[in-house]
Amino acid sequence: MALGLIALLMALFTLSILVGGGSLSLTDAFAALLGSSSPENNTIVQSIRLPRALASLLCGAALGVSGAILQTLFRNPLADPYVLGISSGSSLALGVSILLGVTLGWWGPYNPYSLYLSAFVGALAVMVLMISISGLVRSITTILVVGVMVGYVAYAATSILQTLVEIERLRIFVYWTLGSFSGARWSLLAPSLPLLAACLALSAVIAKPLDALLLGEDYARSMGMRLGAARLGLVALASMGVALVTTVAGPVGFVGLCAPYLARQLSKTSSHRLVIPYAMLMGSILVVSADLASRLVIRPLELPITAVTSLFGAPLVIYLLLRGRSVLG
């Protein structure tokens, strides 16, 4: 099963490099990948398509992990960075950074590190807010509605920001809010690689506390887990994942919801030792194929990626709500 999924991902990844908006033939594209085509073609494939394919693959994996963490923290299969307003919070922080030029770091507003940091802080803020709310309100439906509302508020704030600024900055920012991998370049992607390496290393140690949390917080503590520290670590990791995606591609909806769901279905367990890698794999497969679809459906125009992911994501939300079981099964 796992091997089949990896093969599928590799096929999609290759396809994503070879096929695109331009009129490059497959053989040309392949030659360009190896650097033996015309300089123009080489550039298209190596500087545009390759980073784009890689970005969609990495972001998918990040969304898969973030979704899996959120679903176990909230003890609900409907939790997802997009649904809970975390992506919107991240976008708002990015908006503040790009539109107003306000940054948290010592880098300029367009510096990738600065963007990551802003997106991270925005995601973290909403996530902490949502976790505090979920401590007060038990009903998951209420929490979801609150999440959607938080998303709207962040969206409204972002819109207000947009009306305030000059057209040039706006043009750059609209790129992000639409949600697309078309802006993924090496310059944006390269700084994320050390972060990603850190995330991957951390994913190895989150399976144990997440499994304990399946039984609830009291049980987890009774087994020797330091709840505060574990929760902080998990929230930070999930925020890093969301921040990466928002910075590179803008908000991408529902992948964080579908990937862990499919992971549990395919691995036939809720044990995170399997759910986490499967969720990464499924997230990558979903995002790479959604990105492919967004480019190919109305070629040469492109669809926003959330338009594609919502098509399979939203029905799953409805299905899970109708099924009415708040079980991670």
Binding site: A207, L215, G216, R221, S222, G224, R226, S271, V327, L328
Partner: protein, 402 residues
Amino acid sequence: MIWTVRLAAGFKNLPVVREATLEVKAGEFVAVIGPNASGKTTLLKTLASLLKPLTGVVYLDSTPLSRMRRNEIAKSIGVVLTEQPAPGRLKVFELVALGRYPHTGPLGRLSERDREETMRVLSDVGVSHLAGRLFSELSDGQKQKVLIARALAQNPRVLMLDEPVTFLDPRARVEVLLTLRKICRERRVAVIASLHEIELALRLADRLIVVANGSVESYAPPEEFVEQGGPRALYGMSDGSCFNPDLMSIELRSLPSRGPVFVVAGGGTGAPLYRMLSRQEYQIITGVLHKGDIDYSVASALGATVIWEEPFTPIRPQTIEEALEKARTAFAAIYTSPPIGPTNSANQRLAGLLALRGIPLIVLGKGQVEGAWSRIRTLGEVSQALEELENAILERERVVEP
């Protein structure tokens, strides 16, 4: 082993229990009883270090829990909480292996020893055959056993359970409690369980911790609590229904609304009849019973008028007189055919005298009495016969009235 000094437990500086000074020894089975919302859960959670004590200290041997790291506490105390977890698609083995949490490394990988321990606790609790099943598909009783196994997998010296059998059917209830006792004895684990089933708690526990009105008292053995009249005070109900200390169970009373029935019983032959009559709201007069007889105990607990003798003494003529006097208001008499011996042979005569005085006498069983109105075999027939007699009386009154 685990002990407290002047412990106050509760939330946000609102103590639910105060001044709790307790000690539980290794291998002891402790039942925590008390009314709902009396603070049993709060006390248990504080003992398990899931809640911080408001004041006072919980010690494990000589170390205060507050000075121990979570991981160390987890190696000493395992818990089973009231709320059943819903861990999704987790198999029984995986769930029980989670109990190895404090013993595994940061990756949570199970060593050979961890696997062996997991299998061992599964078989100790008697659920090895469920290892490959999904937890969510088990029955409530099986789930509870699996959760006990999970707690044991931590290899604790104290096992704390909050209402482990409340939602189980009677058979599963006894099974789970006996499993706990077995674990307690074989592994020398101290078991502290809050129970609502006072009858079972009294029969099972080595020590009873009673939580009521903010105070915590400890009784070992639990019989001391019964001797001091504790259950009556704790579970006394407004209609007089009460705890029967001889049988260590609760008898339900009902307010008599139907005419008095005189019952001649003894040797345990009356107890089921008393319960039926009380339920059907008959006023009960019974005698002559010897103190210490189950019939005596049940009849008194039900609020019947009891004419009695001291144990192992023959029934005196004046007691028979008293019985006949009290029986005058009865519209029916029932003889339950008790075994007859030298101390109670007068009861057979009493039944005959009642019949002679015109009280319709129902003989239940094989007893030989002169002048019986009817002879029947089952309790159901007794209630039919009594209704017949009542109707006959009503009929007679209607005829007389005009």
